[in-house]
């Protein structure tokens, strides 16, 4: 048994040992220990080195507010830095290293920073490294020189490079009442709400529910507070309408009473169970919220207040009572308030020696004096600690007379031996969530604390966060707020447990800092001293927000939980204004650090959704290289062994022109447009006329945006008098659907039209090439497919091997071509049947590259040309602009600048040097490759054309229609490409369209 363990107190399980390592040394603790409590019990006082000065630091708190004792946990190849030792539950095999020390924690070369104190004062980085260069040692160049050393010396933990293999998940929860914080107030509120039959969630960031009742040594309802907690938890766990979430930090309060919480599910386990995540990110939508988040004790600021062994009084109390660990053997309490006397008394009961109590107040209440004599401590009233001594561990302190009104010290110093200094500077309500969902916090000059603001959302505060410090009052508030949150008007006090009223004065003396020689730390985590705050003020940073950014006070992982209020008080004193006029920073989420993994959760890695066509597995099994288009996976090429991408698509495209090819077009957006007004609707959204389209016919359509630019194109098939099947481009499918829905809901609510996405209902295969019809003839039954029955843009229905199919004769390749649609579940079967029937005709499956090549050869535009800046006229689609009716975009499409000279117009480009063209390359007139200038346009889509045996592209070129037949140059400096090209008609191949009609 370690000398620092108490005889029997605490929630730890002394019957079992847990072994772990810290900086390579082996230690042991008990189940229920945190790393901090286990190391303290083993006599470890040095936990880390400070951020800038590399000063030795110990553990200051017992919870989430810890600024000093941050460690890195090593697990497998991963490292998780900046974990507060106070929140880390130990388990067998836990491996932890300290941070920000080199080469070792005990001997740290960076500690010389401590000697060069001035160097790192407030604004050091701005002053030294920003701005102009004066000589060799200033400005940004100097920064570049120093950066490596400074980054190594200053900072927090180092992140790992290994991929995080842990599992994370997200959960949505709905409840009537969310109670945040499971101390006496939260437990009471949860029970009161649960008794009203409401769905209740009770979350607490600690492992064990109960909050301060776990270490207060009080009596509630005639029993020990811990027993009362146990019975309350037993009652809540037995209810179906209550969910208890220990180890769960509610970290964000968002709109509409939506709160975010992080559950640390398996951080305390050596190995998670199957399927168990490391962290679970909760999104909780609550009818109302009870904030019972308690209060955080704050330290006093005095020289040497960061020495290991200086600890918050309540933290030491908690270590003694809850963990059975004494923070020291000879302790001194330094306080400005009565409440801390209870901590001293608890430590004394647990077996520590409280030698002295130093109180900044010259008069101390009788109740506090009683507690002082109970501990057998000498009481030094009207005194203050002005210095501490010791190297890696406190050995003594110096005390001088102190006038709390003027804040001045006087008289001779008296030295006292101590290995532990308990400090209490009063309490700050943990109003972070309240601040996120409220107005400005208000300052209570009695409690010397900010209290929760007026709510802007549906929450109520209960307990210490609301400024209630006596347990009787806390329980009463819990009961009342729980009922209120549950919407109950019950005022019966019957359920209220009895607790003694506190005789101690809750109000601390308004003392935050003892000014004497030496570094006095306000923000321990970022090494911001009281002098830094005053320096910032002298340099003109009078706003709290500026102070924060200039000194970095309150930043970093603890977000200033222990330092915000002292920092503001020191600022207020410097400015000469009351604290409430200096203001407070608004708290933003997160309350405590949140793992990025928990936010990404199931979107990570193999769980990212993939959108697959019905024939996907066939493509993969038949050698396709898959290519993503949005979420869709599409075959890029079906490469043969040894083929390059270009060789493959050239072979595939040639096969289409020479014989027949088949391509999966299932990804095209397909929208069922149904209803008596469907034709009228299409007339309004397409530039061309659809009401005149006969049933059983398809038509190519173009849509513009309201501002007159081209938007999307596709074919629409009239399947019945009131039924159309619209197709869109793959990438625009979602956007077009949304836009059409907008038109029906908002612009023309009177039209009787229904839209339904049927993209996934139909598998689509396009069959192209001079022999396409022969393939169909070989396998389609129930209909003829000859030119008379199935003319260009005609539609027939038939069967392929018993599967009903709809066939439309349309073409984007310029060849005789058909699109064959069937129910998606039959897609692979129909595809295979077509392949079989096509075998005789040398059918080839082709991918996106060949599809692109065929359409470029024909000058068909797609997303690269319909880029949001081109008009129908720019794209030679004037013929599709109906003059007989208005349509979306018709009023705006011909306004100034949209027509006339200077427009970028679609042209074809032929490479004259036999080298490939690149998408995005500029077209220039200057022949000087060294000084390419005056771009007249850019290349949009490129390919090698097997039909022309040349590298060609489509391009958008200024006044391109007038430049056909002229020469220019492509300039692509980034990819080092310059060369001559000819500008030609975009109809490269078969401009008369003879092949189409086969």
């Amino acid at each position: 048994m370690s000398p620092r363990r108490t005889a029997d107190s605490g929630r730890i399980d002394r019957s079992r040992q847990i072994r772990f390592s810290f900086d390579g040394a082996n230690y042991s603790g008990h189940p229920g220990d945190t790393l901090a409590s286990a190391l303290l019990a083993s006599g470890v006082s040095l936990f880390g080195r400070s951020f800038k000065y590399h000063r030795p630091r110990g553990v200051m708190t017992a919870g989430i507010d810890e600024p000093n004792a941050l460690v890195t946990v090593l697990k497998g190849d991963g490292r998780e830095p900046n974990i507060p030792a106070t929140m880390l539950e130990i388990y067998d095999g836990l491996t932890v290293v300290s941070q920000n020390r080199y080469p070792s924690l005990a001997f740290d070369v960076g500690a010389v920073n401590g000697l060069a104190g001035k160097l790192f004062s407030a604004g050091f980085y701005y002053k030294t490294f920003m701005g102009p260069v004066f000589g060799p040692l200033k400005g940004t160049r100097f920064w570049m020189f120093c950066e490596w050393f400074i980054r190594r010396a200053a900072g927090l933990g180092r992140a790992g490079y290994a991929a995080d293999t842990a599992r994370y998940e997200r959960v949505n929860a709905f409840c009537d009442v969310l109670v945040v914080g499971a101390g006496p107030a939260g437990l009471m509120a949860a029970r009161a709400a649960a008794e009203q039959g409401r769905r209740v969630i009770l979350a607490d960031l600690d492992t064990r529910l109960g909050g301060s009742a776990n270490w207060s040594d009080e009596t509630i309802d005639g029993m020990a507070a811990t027993d009362w907690v146990a019975s309350a938890i037993a009652d809540l766990s037995g209810r179906d309408n209550v969910r208890l979430l220990p180890r769960t930090t509610v970290w964000g309060y968002y709109d509409n009473n939506t709160l975010a919480a992080l559950e640390r599910v398996t951080d305390h386990k050596a190995k998670p169970e199957t399927g168990e995540p490391r962290h679970r990110s909760w999104t909780i939508r609550a009818g109302s919220v009870v904030l019972a988040t308690g209060a955080l004790e704050r330290p006093l600021v005095f020289p040497g207040n960061d020495r290991p062994g200086v600890m918050l009084a309540a933290a030491a109390e908690r270590y003694a009572v809850e963990f059975g660990v004494l923070a020291g053997e000879r302790a001194v309490l330094f306080t400005n308030n009565d409440r801390a006397y209870r901590s001293a008394a608890a430590l004394a009961r647990a077996g520590a020696r409280i030698a002295t109590i130093v109180d900044v107040r010259d008069t101390v209440s009788a109740a506090a004096r009683r507690l002082a004599s109970e501990c057998g401590a000498e009481l030094l009233a009207g005194r203050a600690v002005v210095a501490t001594d010791g190297r890696r561990q406190l050995s003594g302190i110096a005390v001088r007379a102190f006038d709390a009104r003027s804040g001045t010290v006087s008289g001779d110093a008296r030295n006292l031996a101590a290995d532990c200094l308990l400090v209490s500077g009063g309490w700050s309500p943990a109003l972070h969530l309240a601040s996120q969902a409220g107005a400005r916090p208000r300052w209570d000059s009695g409690l010397q604390a900010f209290l929760p603001p007026e709510p802007t959302q549906n929450w109520i505060a209960a307990g210490a966060v609301a400024g209630a410090y006596s347990t009787a009052e806390v329980l009463r508030q819990g009961l009342e707020t729980g009922r209120m949150a549950a919407g109950s008007a019950d005022e019966d006090d019957g359920g209220l447990p009895l607790a003694a009223d506190d005789e101690l004065d809750p109000n601390p003396a308004p003392v935050f800092e003892i000014r004497a020689d030496g570094k006095a730390f306000v923000d321990h985590q970022h090494d911001v001293t009281a002098d830094d705050v005053r320096l910032a003020y002298r340099e003109g940073f009078v706003s709290v927000e500026h102070l924060k950014r200039y000194t970095t006070l309150g930043m970093a992982t603890d977000q200033g939980k222990t330092s915000n209020v002292p920092g503001m008080a020191i600022m207020a004193a410097a400015v000469g204004k009351p604290i409430e006029e200096v203001g407070t920073t608004r708290f933003r989420p997160p309350f405590a650090p949140v793992s990025l993994g928990s936010l990404a959760a199931e979107r990570h890695g193999h769980l990212k959704p993939e959108r697959l066509t019905p024939m996907h597995d066939w493509h993969v099994a038949n050698g396709a290289t898959m290519f993503t288009a949005g979420l869709w996976f599409r075959p890029q090429i079906y490469g043969l062994p040894g083929e390059t991408i270009e060789q493959a698509y050239v072979r595939e495209a040639k096969a289409v022109r020479d014989g027949v090819g088949i391509v999966d077009v299932s990804t095209l957006g397909k929208i069922a447009v149904q209803g008596p007004d469907a034709a009228e609707f299409l007339d309004r959204v397409y530039t061309n006329m659809f009401s005149t389209l006969a049933v059983g016919k398809a038509r190519y359509g173009l849509m513009l945006r309201e501002d007159g630019f081209a938007y999307d194109d596709g074919t629409t098939w009239r399947l019945g008098e009131t039924e159309f099947l619209m197709t869109t481009t793959t990438v625009n499918a979602g956007k077009v659907m949304q836009n059409l829905e907008y038109c029906l809901d908002v612009v023309w609510p009177d039209l009787k039209v229904h839209l339904t996405s049927v993209t996934d209902e139909w598998a689509g295969a396009a069959l192209s090439g001079p022999k396409a019809r022969q393939v169909l003839e070989a396998c389609v039954t129930g209909t003829a497919v000859d030119d008379a029955t199935l003319p260009f843009m005609g539609i027939v229905r038939g069967e392929i091997d018993g599967v009903p199919v709809t066939i439309c004769r349309l073409s984007f390749s310029g060849e005789l071509a058909y699109e064959v649609y069937c129910g998606a579940g039959h897609g692979t079967h129909v595809w295979e049947t077509l392949m079989e029937a096509g075998e005789l005709f040398g059918i080839v499956a082709y991918g996106l590259e060949a599809l692109g090549t065929l359409r470029i050869e024909k000058g068909h535009v797609t997303g690269a040309e319909i880029d949001g800046r081109t008009t129908a006229r720019d794209l030679h689609l004037d013929w599709m602009l109906s003059k007989k009716k208005p349509f979306i975009g018709s009023a705006m499409m011909d306004r100034d600048g949209m027509t006339g000279p200077g427009r970028l117009e679609l042209v074809g480009v032929v490479s004259l040097d036999g080298r490939p063209l690149n998408g995005g390359a500029h077209i220039v007139e200057s022949s000087n490759p060294a000084a390419p200038r005056d771009s007249i346009g850019h290349v949009t889509s490129v390919c090698y054309s097997p039909a022309l045996r040349k590298y060609i592209s489509l391009a958008l070129v200024e006044d391109g229609k007038a430049r056909l037949g002229t020469r220019a140059f492509v300039s692509d400096p980034v990819r080092k490409r310059f060369g001559p090209v000819e500008l030609v008609s975009h109809h490269f191949f078969d401009p008369e369209g003879k092949r189409l009609h086969g």
């Binding site: 199931e602 769980l607 008098e721 209902e761 579940g825």
Partner: protein
Amino acid sequence: MAEPLSPLQPVWQPGRHGNLSGGAGVVLSETRPASIVQVAAWPGSERAVIAAIRAATGLALPDGAGGGVAAATKAAFGVAPGRFVVVDQAEGLEGELRSRIDAATGSVTGLSHGRTAIRVDGPKAEWVLSKLFAVDFGLTALPVGSGVATQHHDVLAQIQRTGAMRFDLYVFRSLSRSFWKTLCHAAEDVGYEVI
């Protein structure tokens, strides 16, 4: 005619998986109804459409948003104002409905291939689905028979509660394989059985 292929086929692994220390928390299956049909009414003709659904299936839909009814081999539920999903294990439902609903009353859209029907059944069904959807799956908020249209990231889903602990999900076919993998992953901690 050949059986339609299930998009889940390559990832469908019958048997028990995950953490089975407490038994299988959910049973996952693809119900493969032969008919999934969307019926949509024009404003004012909702009652006529509900009557037509009743005549075609025998299912009496309540009048109101999100309401629904589930029988052994048939189900119907509201997914949007005036829009219903009607499901039958047997073929032919689309024709039945088309014969009863003319263009003046509403529209009928066949989705038997386009949606994949996935059943999540068991004491942990609410828990597993809560990981994927921001929907209150409590029995009071979503009573048996009723439905909801929502999404898991890019995956739109129409969900009907067909039992106290049973939910039928209709997701886009092209995304259903990914969704199934995600669903299985989400069910690992409570154990699941695929049938």
